[in-house]
Symmetry: D2
Subunit: 325 residues, 4 copies
């Protein structure tokens, strides 16, 4: 049993608390949050003590730290936890500022840090990756990533989000890197404000298409919108030399209703915490593996690379030209 501490008792922190508490190889040994009531409530739910960051870092019995606090603290807390010799589970993104993220290389490049791009742990995307890896369809040539939110966030969220590319597409940039198996050399992005004019007034876009290209010419399209109107749309198609692999959406049930209008399937799962519930469990399982000695499958360098692509896309969409990340 590895003792782990959780920093951040918000929405995503509560998910990680549950998964850590129920994990057979982990014990949730401390919950830290500046809002005392949040920490206390979550601690009560899982019979875990409330703690402070300093206590956690000073406690040699705590082997791992889960950083699920606000984005602007990810980098700092990760550096401090790694400095204290802990394994780190750091929520995405590593930071919103590329320069600052790159500046942490000295502290984090060699850390045992899992950067929590949860989609790498989704069973459907893992199954897609497995088909690519086992040669079922030959060598990958291009990729279509569709990643649409069901409904737009409030403008107050958009204002501090870092923009669509850093906030939303950052997951897709990581998926592209993971699946293409080659670094990106060129980024074109086109963004529009079609959903909510308020988002445009804040200088952001709500609808975007990004094209990535690798050195050998592999191509990837990322399609994003803040509002699909039909649920949380999360799909990938990987085109290869002998065929194609697709991971489709997850529906709320397998029920279909047939009547004179046709056959209607159930809704897409609408909420990311439902869609990726198993992914969150699997990434916590991987954190347990890291505490057992495994190397992180996705770490600091991946967080920086995805952020660099997000910054390149932001720039490309603004300038209307190709950008090299």
């Amino acid at each position: 049993m590895h003792k782990v501490a959780l920093i951040g008792a918000g929405r995503i922190g509560r998910i990680h608390a549950r998964n850590a508490a129920l994990h057979p190889r982990l014990r949730l040994a401390a919950i830290v949050d500046p809002v005392e009531a949040s920490a206390a409530a979550l601690a009560d739910e899982w019979s875990a003590p409330v703690g402070s960051l300093d206590q956690v870092l000073a406690d040699p019995a705590i082997a791992g730290v889960i950083v699920a606090s606000s984005t602007d603290t990810h980098l700092d807390y990760s550096i401090r936890a790694a400095g204290a010799g802990k394994a780190v589970f750091c929520e995405k993104p590593i930071d919103q500022d590329l320069q600052r993220a790159r500046g942490a290389a000295g502290a984090l490049r060699d850390a045992r840090l899992l950067l929590a791009f949860n989609r790498r742990f989704d069973p459907n995307f893992q199954a897609l990756k497995a088909r690519l890896d086992d040669g079922s369809v030959g060598t990958i040539e291009s990729l279509q990533i569709t990643s649409n939110d069901p409904a737009p966030p409030p403008p107050s969220y958009v204002a501090v989000s870092g923009g669509l590319f850093k906030d939303m597409a950052i997951h897709d940039f990581d998926m592209a890197r993971w699946l293409l198996g080659e670094e990106i050399e060129a980024v074109w992005a086109a963004g529009s404000c079609l959903v909510d004019p308020e988002i445009g007034r804040l200088g952001d876009v709500d609808t975007a298409r990004t094209v990535l290209r690798t050195a050998s010419g592999r191509l990837c399209v990322i399609a994003n919108t803040r509002r699909s109107g039909y649920g949380y749309d999360q799909r990938i198609e990987a085109y290869a030399s002998r065929g194609m692999v697709r991971a489709d959406n997850v529906l709320e049930s397998t029920v279909q209703v047939f009547n004179e209008g046709g056959a209607a399937g159930d809704r897409l799962q609408n909420f990311f915490l439902d869609r990726y519930a198993e992914a969150y469990r699997r990434e916590m399982d991987h954190f347990a593996d890291i505490l057992d000695g495994a190397a992180p499958l996705v770490g600091y360098a991946d967080g920086v690379a995805a952020l660099a692509l997000a910054e390149a896309a932001t720039l490309s969409a603004k300038r209307g030209e190709v950008v090299r990340p």
Copy 2:
């Protein structure tokens, strides 16, 4: 080019007229119908002469006769055409009366007669049969045939139809024999009147389930209703020793609409002439093959065997007991 004559210019006759007229190896050389105006209109459409049955039978240049007249004439016209040395394309059913149909054995057993069970020529069911024959799933063990009409016929039709089992399920009995590869030894049928009480008053049922069993124990379920409420539902599932093959319905288009209620596919094709358009073309093509010398894939004996199963099912549903056909 083989000259063929068509007897019957009704709905199904018009389909066969078109397919014969457009067939590269057939020439539509005569159209016969007691209703002169019907014959004349169809003859005009395909630039074919109107004729009489006697002329057709006496004309040595006419090699084949398509019997698409009313059910009670199928047997008589087929016997006369066969007697005149013609190849015969006889619409289903061979007759409504099993004794009478069996009585024609002397005249028809060795005739070049194609009994037009069109579903054997449907591309989807042929593809299913091909998968069974090529060993993709091993040896067949059981069968599920779903065969539902979109909406009930008028009571006037039901009154002369011979009942659900002879009128509607007769196709399914033929499919069962074709796919099971073994004769049926036992028939259980359960029928209810759930759709239209008028059908019940006529002594018929509108909803039925029939279970067939072969000597080796293979099982087949036939599900029928006169009114599906969602289109013309024509499906088969064949269960075998290493898997299952399914032929699904044909939709009006591949379009799906996604909105907050879910994903809605298009309607099932609703009308049998649309659903089986290609089947009708392929069975006419097979008739051309027969005129070229091929043996009929489905003939007089199959027509009698399907009728015997329909009679057994009718009896079983009435008596509530197992019947041997």
Copy 3:
């Protein structure tokens, strides 16, 4: 928090232990099993004490008893637990012997007893039921239940299983009753031994079709085989006056591979503990509701009624005639 005890630490007992232990309103307060090592291992896993049946029944703090022991003890333990004033969660079947099951009416008819037909709690079948109940497709008329195991059990299991109808189809009889909304008046069953001759030598069948009929003429077909060859096949189609609702299988992932042979989807979930994992959680949640005062959604009388249908089907298949349950 309601304290509950678990009787039986076998495969299904371990599932219930986990779900009870993790349930926010339940506390797993005792584990009872004649095999001490089994009880101890499970108790250790969930930090629960090992106990004896007598201790459990005598302990007024224990409000509920989960009977997950061997089938022949279900009835006895349920009667004793109910007699001690406990709420009872009784695994299916209530018993293999219909007379004995009926004989427990005095003790159990009014007990707070949840008979654990897990499929009623499956999210897909619940979604299907909801569509029937909300009138999306009108009034139910007929039902197709497909329920195939992936691979046959060993003959040693078959020998004590009570036969296909009591062991396997019992679930389907319960589903039929639940969805048809009317009691069954007539049962026809046809069974064959096509999968494993050893099963036949034991006097059982491995492939069956059962037709049920209600007083108003509603029809239900249950299709069973002990070996599908393609996974755990669990589907329902409900035909109604204005359409049809279908609950389809659950696949291992949403991945599809497209190559020159076509598009291949992933496997069906193969193991019942995977397919029904959520159903087991939901039925435990319902047990918590019962402990809070709710009436059981499925109880003693349902267990007896399903067993009566299984006995009728067994008889019908043997005699080749219709049986009234």
Copy 4:
């Protein structure tokens, strides 16, 4: 009955000959081809006379001319036929040279000319358009067009094809204009040579992604490859303010094979003449409507606009920058 002449007895000419000959409102009155044997064979097949272009243009009884000759003659023959007062059915593309195509405006802008972008007449894409038009999903915002050939053409074809964007994507540019309902203001294209190095040596690409943007910010991605490895992949997804409409591929049959590896569907239709057989029929039907007085649904200006987009994409892919068409 309108008399029509066909110019060009090659592969696509033969399709149009059949559809014209079988059309109830058209009579195929002349077949013209510089290769006499081709003209004669096709004329024989449909009992139509061989003719010359001059005869056709001079014959006042011929109301329509179908231009299905080689691409470099489309413009010239269309101008001559229009000049002779004929209605023109002109195969795509209008020309490979944008300047030349624009130069024909004086002659063709007001001609009764159907530019034969067959996909506008495909039943699936028409159904998708109908859903967009009837408001099922609100206002269109973006579009994903996937258009992949099964296997690459020989290099000799590629050499004279005008390049992937003019030869292959030209259809998709037309679809984008048709469905977006707004002209394109900006074109980004990225092309790679991943399939056949010989295509690269000829200065062309075999894999491309093109992003189009309208004045109001609507976005369209076109995905093309010369070799899918899994058939002729022709799909469209239209994203709108309240949902999404998708037109999926057409399979060779509805058959699915289930075995221990999963469920395998049939192949995609592989050949464009199969996939678009009905589209070719429907566009001939529209030509008959034009001869009856209807305005062409797609004409000269559409041919020029699609060509302008193809030229812009070719340029964009070469220069790596955004191009305004």
